[in-house]
Point group: D2
Chain length 255, copies 4
C-alpha cells in the first residue's frame, strides 16, 4: 500500500541500484534481485545496452521487469549530457532519465549551473529528468521548476561511502519538495540508507556500497531491508529525544 510515483510510474521499491563496478552482469543481476529494485540506473556511455556482438546487460536484467534509468555519468557539460540522453532515447525510447552533470573528477560534485540548464532543455524536449544535485534546498526548488521529476541530492561524494553528511539540508529539501526526493551517492552501509529514509526521502540510489561490499548480494539484501526499515520508521513517527533517562517501567509503586 505504501508506494511512490515519479513521472507517472508507480513503484513499491524505494531502492534504485546502479550497474557499475560489479564483477559481471550476472552478479549485477543477482544484486538487483536481492535488492528488490524495480529500477536500475545505467551509464549510457559505459554499459553496453545496444551492441548485440558484446555481452549486453539486458540479457541479465530484463527491461520488461526492471525499469532502465539511463544516466549521464561521465558528462561534464550540459551539452554532453543532453546529447547522451538524446542518443539513449533514440536507441531505447527512454524518457525517464537520470541527469548528472559533473563538475570535476576529484569530488564528482555536480555542476549545478550546467545541471539546471540541462534540466530546462531536457524538460522542454519531453524528457522526464530525475536530477543528481547538491544538497541545496533552493537549487532543489529551482530544478523542480525547471522540470525535474525528482531531485536526487548527494549524501556524500560519489563512491566515498561516508554516509549522509548533512541531515539538516536533506530534511529541508524534503520539507520543500513537491517532487520525490532520493538520496543519490554517499551511502556506505545499511544504516546510512535507513537514515535517508528516516529523513523523509522517497528513495535511495546507490552503487558502490553494494558493488564493493565483500558479499555484494548479501549487502543488496541488507540495503533492501534498511530502506524498508527507514521508511517504516519515518511513517511510524519516532519517539522524542530526552536529555535524561526515562524508565521503561515506572519506578514508583513497585512490588
Amino acid at each position: 500500500d505504501d508506494s511512490w510515483e515519479v513521472a507517472g510510474h508507480r513503484f513499491t521499491s524505494r531502492l534504485i541500484v546502479g550497474t557499475g563496478k560489479y564483477k559481471d552482469f550476472a552478479q549485477n543481476a543477482a544484486a538487483v534481485e536481492a535488492a528488490g529494485s524495480e529500477i536500475v540506473t545505467v551509464a549510457v556511455r559505459r554499459v553496453n545496452i545496444s551492441d548485440p556482438n558484446q555481452p549486453v546487460l539486458m540479457d541479465h536484467i530484463d527491461p520488461k521487469k526492471i525499469i532502465y534509468l539511463p544516466n549521464t555519468a561521465g558528462c561534464f557539460t550540459a551539452e554532453d549530457a543532453i546529447r547522451t540522453l538524446r542518443l539513449a532515447r533514440e536507441a531505447g525510447g527512454w524518457e525517464l532519465v537520470k541527469l548528472e552533470v559533473l563538475g570535476e573528477a576529484k569530488t564528482l560534485y555536480p555542476n549545478m549551473k550546467e545541471t539546471l540548464r540541462a534540466t530546462e532543455v531536457l524538460a522542454s524536449e519531453g524528457f522526464k529528468p530525475m536530477v543528481y544535485c547538491t544538497d541545496d534546498p533552493i537549487a532543489a526548488k529551482q530544478l523542480e521548476e525547471a522540470g525535474a521529476v525528482a531531485v536526487m541530492p548527494l549524501g556524500a561524494p560519489i563512491g566515498s561511502g561516508l554516509g549522509i553528511q548533512n541531515q539538516v539540508t536533506i530534511r529541508l529539501i524534503v520539507e520543500g519538495a513537491s517532487v520525490p526526493v532520493l538520496v543519490d551517492a554517499g551511502v556506505g552501509t545499511a544504516s546510512d540508507a535507513a537514515v535517508a529514509m528516516e529523513l523523509g526521502c522517497d528513495g535511495v540510489l546507490m552503487n558502490t556500497a553494494i558493488a564493493e561490499a565483500k558479499d555484494p548480494i548479501r549487502m543488496a539484501r541488507a540495503m533492501r531491508l534498511a530502506v524498508e526499515a527507514g521508511r517504516h520508521a519515518y511513517l511510524s513517527g519516532r519517539m522524542g529525544r530526552r536529555r535524561y533517562a526515562d524508565p521503561s517501567s515506572p519506578l514508583a509503586g513497585l512490588i
Copy 2:
C-alpha cells in the same frame, strides 16, 4: 542459517523487546509479533505474570512460543535484584534472566559495582544472567568471568532515544567478548538499531523506541527490518571509506 545462542537457547531473531509503556497487553503483543521477537523482557516487579485475578501478560504473549526474560528493573542494589530473581525463579522457573542494578533514577545508569557482585551471586546459584552494563570493555570481560551469559551495554540512557553515543566502545566490547553482546537502551529509531548490528553486536533490546512511537506496531516492524539489515550489512563486509569521490563507472574510455 544465521542464528545466535545464549545459555543453550538458540534464536534467529536478534531483537528483544520490552513490556513497559504500552497502552495495554494487546498492543504489546501485537508489537512483539511485528518485531518478530522470540524473547520479551518483563519487569518482574511491575508486570503481572502471576496474579490470576488481574489481566496477565501470558494471556496475550504465549510463554510457550516467546521466551520470557525476567528483568530486575527498579532494583538499586545487588540484594534487591537477587531477591527479585529468586522470586521469579520460584514463580516461573526462569533461570535465563536479565540483570540490571541501577545507580540512580536520573540517568538509570547501572551501578557496575553492585552489578558485578549480583552477577557472581546469581551465577553461583545457577542463574544465567544477561547483564545490563556500561559500555566499558574491561567491565564487560569481568562480567563474563563472573558468569554473565551475555553482556548488554547501553547505547545511551534508558528511554532517551538518543542513539548509540559511543561506537568505539561498543566495537571494543564486541571484539573482546566471548559471550553475546546486545545493545540495551538508547535506541531511538531504526537506523540506531542498524548501527548496533553493524558494529557486530549479536542483538538489540529496546522498549521505548517502539512503545512511544506514534504507531508502535509499524515501528516494531521497522526495528525488525533494521536489525536484519544491520546484521546482513555486518556480515557482508562493508566498502571502505574514501576521502574523495570514486566514479561508479570509470571516467576514462567513455564512448
Copy 3:
C-alpha cells in the same frame, strides 16, 4: 607573522563579526573589541551608517580602525543586491563588500544562480565581493572565476547555531580554492569556530552566536580564542587517529 589577505587588505584577525541582534551599538562595539575583529559586516539596508539624525554605528565602531564590510542581507535577487551595494559605494566608498543573495526566508540559503550572476556584475563594476554561498566545491570555483575575492560557505543555516554540518565539503572547498575561504553562518559555540579553522579555512564570520549568548562580550572573547586555537591546530599538523589506545609512556621496560 600569520596573516591573511583579501583584495589587497591584510589582516591578522580571522574573526569577522556582525552588527545585528545586539542590544545596542555600545554592546556591539564591546563585542567587536573582545573578538579582536578587524572587520565588521554591516547590513546596508538595516544598520544606520549615514543618517546623522539617528544613532549611527560609526559613533561606536570607528571605521578608521575597523574595516566596514557592507552586506546585502535581506536581498533576494541579484538586482536587489547589486543596487544595494552601489548605494553603499556611493555613500561610503566601499568596494570590498559581502554579497548575499538569499533564496527564501525559511532557510536563508543562498540562491546560487542569482549569487553567481551578481558576483559577475559586481566584479565587472570594480567591486571586490566576498560571497556567501552553499558548501559546494564546484560553485566555489565558479564564484572565484566570476570575481569573488573570497568564498564564504555556510556551515549550517544562518542563525541556527547548529555547528558545521558537513566537514567534507568545507575541506574540499579549502583544498580547491585560490581565494580565502571563510565559514559564514552556522557557528553556535566556540568549538564550532575551532573546527572551521582546523579544516583550513582562512576565517569565520558570525553574528548570532555572539549576540545571542547570555554574555555576548565573554562569548566574543571565547570566539577570538577559538579561532586562534583552531588556526594554530591546523598549522601544527594534528596527530593521526588510532582505532586503539596507545600509551603515553611505553608499557614495556617499566621500573
Copy 4:
C-alpha cells in the same frame, strides 16, 4: 578571577599536560610553557625524577613553579598503583597524585573495580587522588565518595586522538559531581579540548595530541587557547539551537 581548586591547590590554568612521547625534556618543557600549564603529570615508573646520574625532568621543568602530578601509568592492579604512589611519596613528598589502574593494553581502559579499591586505600593513607575513570556517572560518584579529589573520565581511548565520543556521559558526570571533572584521554585536536570545556568540565589532561603533532609547541599553544575558549563559551551561556534559519537582521522593515 576564574580559577579552580583541587585538594586545596588553586589554579588558573585548566590544561594539564603529560611528559611522555616528547623528543626530549627540552621540547617537553617548551610545550608546557606554551600550554601555560601549572600542572604536569609524570609517569613515576617511566620518567626519571630522582636518579641524578641521568637526565632528570626537574632540570627542565621547575617543580617549584609547576606542580608535579605523579601518575601510575603502566599499573594494572590496585596493588601496583598503590605501591607506585607510596614510592613517589617517599621520594618526592607528593600527596596530590593521579591514579590510573589499567584494564588491558589494547584499550588502556581503566579497570574500574581495581580503581575504586585503590582510591579507597590511597584516600585512607592521606593521598589526594585524581582518578582516571570511565565516563560512567555512577562510578564517578562512587570514586568521589571513596575519596577522589577529582574525577577524570576518558573522552576516547588513550592516545587515540578520536575526540570526545560521548558528550552525554561527560555532561551527566559534570552535573552530578562535587569535585572537579577533567577529561583525560582522547583529545586529538583543539576543538576536542574546547568541547570538553563547553560541557562544563573543569579542565583537560592530554599528552599525545601535543607530543605527536608535527609542531608540538604550536599545538600546545593551540590547546591552551582552546581550553580558554571552551571555558569562556561555557560561562557565556551559548545561544540555543534552531531547526531553521534566523536572520541576523530582521527581514521586515528593510529600507
